[in-house]
Amino acid sequence: MKKQTYILLFLPLFLMLGCNKYLDLQSNNALVVPKSLDDFQKLLDANSFINFNMCSNGEISADDYFLKTTVFEQFSDDARDLYLWRNFNYLFNNDWAKAYIPIYTSNLVLEGLEKLAITESNKDEFNRIKGSALYVRGSQLLSLVWVFAKAYNPNTSSSDLGVVLRSSSNPNETSKRASVEESYNFILNDLKDAVKYLPKVSTHVMRPSQSAAFASLARTYLSMSVYDSAYYYADKALESNNELIDFNQLTKTSPYPLERFNKETIYYAQLAPMYPNIHPFYASIDTLLYNSYHVDDLRKDIYFSQTGDGYFQFKGSYCGSIDLFGGIATDELYLIRAESAARLNNISSALNDLNTLLQKRWITGRYVALATDDNDVLVNTILEERRKELLMRGLRWIDIKRLNVLNGSISIVRKLNGETYTLPANDNRFALPLPQDVIQSSGMPQNPY
């Protein structure tokens, strides 16, 4: 009897030997655990997750548009609160959540790269991926810090609350808010590292390039009011692409006269479409702003179209669609270089950049080149043109904030149903509140309001 019992016991053992192999088959060929360089590049190429999550709440809180009462009343509580700078109770899903998707992906890629060996044959690809991940993380953090922290003020930046500087994909790491100074340093480090690894030009403007990293550095420094570095990096960025679109060649009547991936685009990104406030079908362009365009300024017709109620809606997105552009284009770099030059007293350079740009924006032959040696006039003109050129790109909010650090002159006024709401210059609410559930679950301090 015993013998047979043994054999019975062996039967399952036969199976056991085979089974681990049997279970090693991949259960779903449409799933990948990212491990290779190829996988990492693919993670960074998922552009609707990587490129389309630039924070939009800043633009929503800014003053290039207004909402008619009837439009306002249709909105959700969150969207209404955001318009009036009092969205202290909002939860998932939001700008904050979206911004950390590309940051997580970059961290996953950077950690994965550490496990791979660099060889002669994979060096270029390896560096490109590493540079891309660093760029994505840095530029995304910049968009966060512009919205959720106060503007950089050298006197208070070491104690002002910044954003969460994640550098790992570990789900168990607790979130901590860095200071504004730490945040900017981290961003600058990422972008400068990215410069080292990125190729001069990329195969597509949705992939970062060295000039994109230079451009983001220029933006970062300008928002910190560090003009020499802003000038330096804007200049570097324009080295590989300084093209400008001649607006005379665009079709004014076209629903979206500017094309997606046009020749000015250095890095293509979009604002996260979280709330309808700045959606061109809902937002009306600030009337004073619209009126400030000269009749010979082509942007008046290229950027705007009149709606049934006599107001104007925006149609000048570099996305060539209803989407709002959140990337970087050469026009912005001209204006960064011009403003930095003017503030550094390099008047001729500033004038040159400003005039070069505007010549392409006005009807051919109508633009009278600006000539002045009054630095204040020049800076103010550049700032005015900056607002007129770069509206609805997620830049106005940080511009107001940084300019208020300099001279505290811009406050925002909203009118609804006869009531007036004001956000005074340098108000605490310029650092928008973090989501309530994130505050609750992480124990991080909320922005004061």
Binding site: K3, Q4, I7, L8, L11, P12, F14, L15, M16, G18, N20, Y22, L23, L25, Q26, S27, N28, A30, L31, V32, V33, P34, D39, K42, L43, D45, A46, N47, S48, F52, K68, T70, V71, F72, E73, Q74, N89, F92, N93, W96, A97, K98, A99, Y100, Y104, T105, V164, S169, P171, H204, P255, Y256, Y282, T307, G308, S321, D437, V438, S441, S442
Partner: protein, 1075 residues
Amino acid sequence: MVKSILCALLLSLFTISLIYGQIGSQTELSYKIDGYVLDRINKSPISGVNIQSKRLASSVQTDHRGFFTILVSSPIDTLILKHIGFENYLLPITSSSKKPLEALLTTSSKVLDEVLINTGYQQLKPNETTGAIQVLDEKALNQQIGTNILERLNNISTAVRFDNEPIQNTDLQKTNISVRGMSTINGMLDPLIVLDGFIYEGNINNIDPNNIESISILKDAAATSIWGARAGNGVIVISTKKAKAGVNNEISFNSTFTLKQKPALFDLYQPNTSDFIAVEQMLFKSGYYTRQLQRTPYLAITPATEILYQRSLNTISSEDSLRLMQELIASDLKESYTKEFLIQPIIQQYGVGIRGNSALNSYNLGFGYTNDKNAYANYSNKMHITAGNSYKPFKNLQLDLSFIFTDQTVNSGRLPYESFTYGGKRVPYGSFRDLDGNGLPFYNSYRKEFIDSYLSDYLLDWKYYPTEDYKHSTINTRLNEFYPNLRIGFKVLPFLNLQVAGQYQYQKIDNNRLHTQESYAARLMINQFSQVNQQTGVVTYKVPLGGIRSSEKNEVSSYTLRAQADVDKQWGNYRLLGIVGAEIRESQSNGETFTAYGYTDNPLKSIPVDFVSYFPILPTNSSSTISGVPFFSKTINRFSSLYSNFSLLYKEKYGLSASVRRDGANIFGADTNDKWTPFWSSGLFWDITNESFKPSVFQQLKIRATYGVSGNVDLRKTALPIANPTTGLYTNYPALVIGSLNDPSLRWEKISTLNFGVDWSLLNNRLTGNLDYYIKNGNDLYGLDIYDYTLWGVDGTIVKNTASMLSKGVELNLNSINTTGIVQWGTSLLFSHNRNKTTKYYSRYGSNISTLLTDGNTITPIVGSPLYSLAAYRWAGLDDKGNPIGYYQGEESTNYNDIRLEASSANASNIVYLGSAKPQYFGALINRFDYKQFSLSVNISYKAGYKVRKPVTRSSNLYTRGIAYPDFEKRWQNPGDEYLTNVPSLLYPINEYRDTFYAMSEINVLNGSHVRLEYINLSYRPKLKSFSNRGFLELFANANNLGLLWTANDEGFDPEYKYNLKPQRGFGFGFRANF
């Protein structure tokens, strides 16, 4: 790989049989006794009778002709003949016994209906198991006449609860039934379905209910643990009618014809037309449509709004607008819809079955046909063919082969009422035809003015004609399934049977969607992708003219291979009964979809399109690619298992059982060690029936106790970050997106169950029943944890092994025969009680009853509360402006945001916990009356011990989607109304917090208890002389879904169909016959 395992299995089987064969010849059994066993009454042979020599422990069984041969050691011996359902029989052997012995068995009076329990791996008699198992036979299943076998379990089983709420998460749940309540929070929720011994993952509708012999519901751990990792939610074992040895040849027929009522659209609440128009007028005046009409003037608006708009533009006179409004007020869209689209639903079911025997084999053959035409003219044709053959080529070897083949076609009918909206907004008014009977266009996406003027010389007609359109947009689905099953059993020794079994399943679903060029869908898409050059008049069709045909194919194929040894050995008073086996299983699914454009049937052709480029879409000028690029999917799940289950019985009085199973799966992203997990169970019973001191009032009394551990695995949950392939937008670069987060700490869920049970039969079997009490403990359950999404903002929550739950329950099955005599009246009471609660929930940030402010259909773990439960805001009435009042810091308040924030803080006093949102008590009362050849049964079901949240009108739903509930009519309208009603005024602009406060307040939570009349079944069996003893003819009539008899709430609100369409009443007629 698979082949080599199979080879190894076969090899080992043969080795074992060889060894045993030798042993058999070595024993000294020198006297051969032949005999046969017959039923004393009808003299039919009895198979499967256990025959044992008194001197030796050896035993044999009779074959299908009732014959047996046994070897004994001495010429003088006595054989003990035992068979369930018959009295034991002693057959003395004398040396003169030369010719075959005859034994005549008498039917036992002890056991009434003998049921065989099928665990899928083993067939057991009730006195051989410790587990809690309910068996439903054909008769019980025929009490209801539905076309879905699982639906026939409704209200006739204590453990199975049907939920009439829609399924929340189709990833986790396919059927809406649960066995013994919940045992997981975020894992798979379906019980395991086993068909003829193997896991069935096909469409449950493929099983023909008329071809089912019995269903065993495995409830406790001792019963389910044999199914291992996927048995945590209970196991339902379905056995089809099989060829049987010892059964006379028979032919059976059945036919059922069911008429159903048309859906009563009246149940679907909508405000009356004038009230609805009044709201639209208010919205129009408040400027609700201003932006839409200015910025996107092409988008659809409701007919009443259109009239208001035209009037505001002064394009129609006030008199005309008044007249048009009056026409709308007088119309009724539901009525028009019912008249235009609904038809009389009819279901027809037919079946033929043949069973028979010959010397070497027994066979069965079945054919079923179902034609189901529902109220929306959606009709399906289903054909089942089943066949089985059991072949005994020589002694000790048995081959069973069977297959099920299903072929089903479904043709789409008409669109439901809810699909007729203007830009997503439902209206109560309007008509599908004008007074002359001509079909009217329905402006569901674009305004008439826009359609009439926009590029109308260049584009196709954009209008939607509902009365015609369903003829041009059709969906045809064809489903085929082939389910063969093979078993080779070899009786190596009298007590040892070895078997190799295999199952294969192939299911293919072909789904073809065709929009001909006449259809609205095709015209819409062609227009949207048209590029018009108005100077030249040239139209470029990026989506070519012609129809659009989309094809979706899904194939599921699975196989299981199993090698198993069955042992049934008796030594003296001891009997060892058990199995040991190993199994591998693979389930593969492949899918593909694609869309062809410019499609025409005749000539059969399609036109290629550019799937890559982005085209501007008319009229919005947004850009899009053409959808329908081919897509493929493939998943392969593999499992391998080792299992064993043994029972040791002593004198048929005591039983001890133990089972163990180890499961492995190819979980994606898991390490090898995490792929395996062990499960076990053990149990005991004491059958007092066989004790000498048994109280004489009992005919049967058995006590059971079991404990065991089973599990749940969700193959989607992994420890490594997993990415899904995608394509970069605009770039078309191949890309990857992280689909689930890396979490190395995820483990399998574990559920342990403790079960105590008693089975009894009293007072000459007039009072029978069983009672089970169980405690289920779930640990390491997947739970959604709110988390700091600063990590990865795709989700606001993350899945972790965060929760533990405890569920306790009682199941009582009580059957009584109340009267005997000319009218026999029997009653069955089914009672289930299930109380579950979360015992641990490691949400990092604590949880609070404010998370129970839901509709009660999502699992919300709060420690100490049932998984589905409700809380509500405390209510303080309405103020003099019609605003709802709540409490904030103990004071009355109308600051709804403050109220909300306080409610989500610890120790909030403005929110109350109200209890379970799912029935904690449920069951049915079945009364059966037999009078001569007539039999009548009535099933009344009840559910109790739970709360439901009544849906109420939310302004956002009413304004944007046109959805309201009856409270709309009681809303506050004038000062003073606050004394008469609890329904707040309607406001514009929308205040979401105010709406939510009202909807989630305690006044809208009602007691859900109710009693429902489920079905009445009347049958008649005429006595016909020409029938053999098993033959019969039965005529029956059945009425089902008969509606509520009583509700605890006094509003007459049906807690299961909350102002929604109820299942239609059905009336069925038919016959069953056996010859």
